[in-house]
């Protein structure tokens, strides 16, 4: 029987496709925006929660790690991760910046009054547009940047104890 070139190619293609499908079945298909890791954060200008002044890149200190946490009082997982943020606020080498996302000022303040305030700086992004530059598509999200303002890690969804250990590992590595 003559075996034609075309037949062999189609056979290989079918096998290849099936193998790819098989591998694809077992990989995690949740989407995450990891693209910004390794890049310097964009210039931003966000209002403080408490007053009308702006906070900018240049106001970020150059000697510490920064943890930017995007949260809202209406978001239930944020309540869940709050104790971890409280623990992290004890670390000296870490500057916690909270960005309050699409929230009302009164509710945000009540939230912090009830559960404690872990943040060194609290900013407010009322229409959610400023958070776009951090690749945010839901709350909570957390971004760890180093003293040179380069993104080291990104956490989508509430932080857990594993993430806590990871963050400590990164900031005490050097």
């Amino acid at each position: 029987m003559k075996v034609s070139f075309l037949k062999i190619i189609s056979f290989c293609l079918v096998i290849f496709t099936i193998i790819v499908f098989f591998i694809a079945l077992n990989i995690d298909k949740r989407y995450s925006t990891e693209n910004i890791i390794g890049k310097k954060i964009d210039n931003f200008k966000i209002k403080f929660l408490s007053h009308d002044q702006n906070f900018e890149n240049k106001d970020l200190s150059n000697d510490k790690y920064h943890l930017i946490n995007i949260w809202a009082s209406w978001c239930l997982p944020c309540k869940k991760e709050h104790p971890i943020l409280m623990k992290l606020s004890n670390e000296d080498n870490l500057n916690l910046i909270g960005i309050n996302f699409k929230d009302k000022k009164k509710n945000a303040n009540n939230f912090l009054k009830d559960l404690g305030n872990p943040y060194n700086v609290i900013l407010s992004d009322t229409d959610g547009t400023s958070s776009i530059s951090f690749g945010v598509f839901g709350v909570p999200e957390t971004i760890l940047i180093n003293e040179k303002h380069i993104v080291i890690k990104k956490f989508i969804g509430p932080l857990d104890t594993n993430d806590y250990k990871n963050i400590l590992n990164v900031i005490y590595e050097n």
């Binding site: 989407y31 925006t33 693209n35 959610g128 776009i132 839901g138």
Partner: protein, 123 residues
Amino acid sequence: MLFMKTKFLIIILLIFNINLSANENIGIDTKIFKNLRCLVCQGQTIAESNSDFAQTIKIVVRDKISQGSNEKEIYEFLSEKYGEWIVYKPKFNYINSLLWISPYIVLILGGYLIFKYFRKRRQ
């Protein structure tokens, strides 16, 4: 017949003397929204979605347009932040090259096979 031919020519001229830009009646913002995926929805574009995320992206895109960014710059800005997944038209690059080429490979191959059949007959 000659009359027909001249008429034909005139019509041809008229047909192709047209504006090459499509969809002028849709604003540039809507055009961009239609080309962006709403990341938190099930297969919807930003233009179609009612979600919070889509509303935010709409504001950002409009801000960018009023700041003078063009379509391409906006896509690049957003895919830098959210990955290529957000843009519905994949770029033509190394990874995506087969996506753009393979339909035409099938077209040419099909044409070749039909042609081969006819040749076989003649011989």
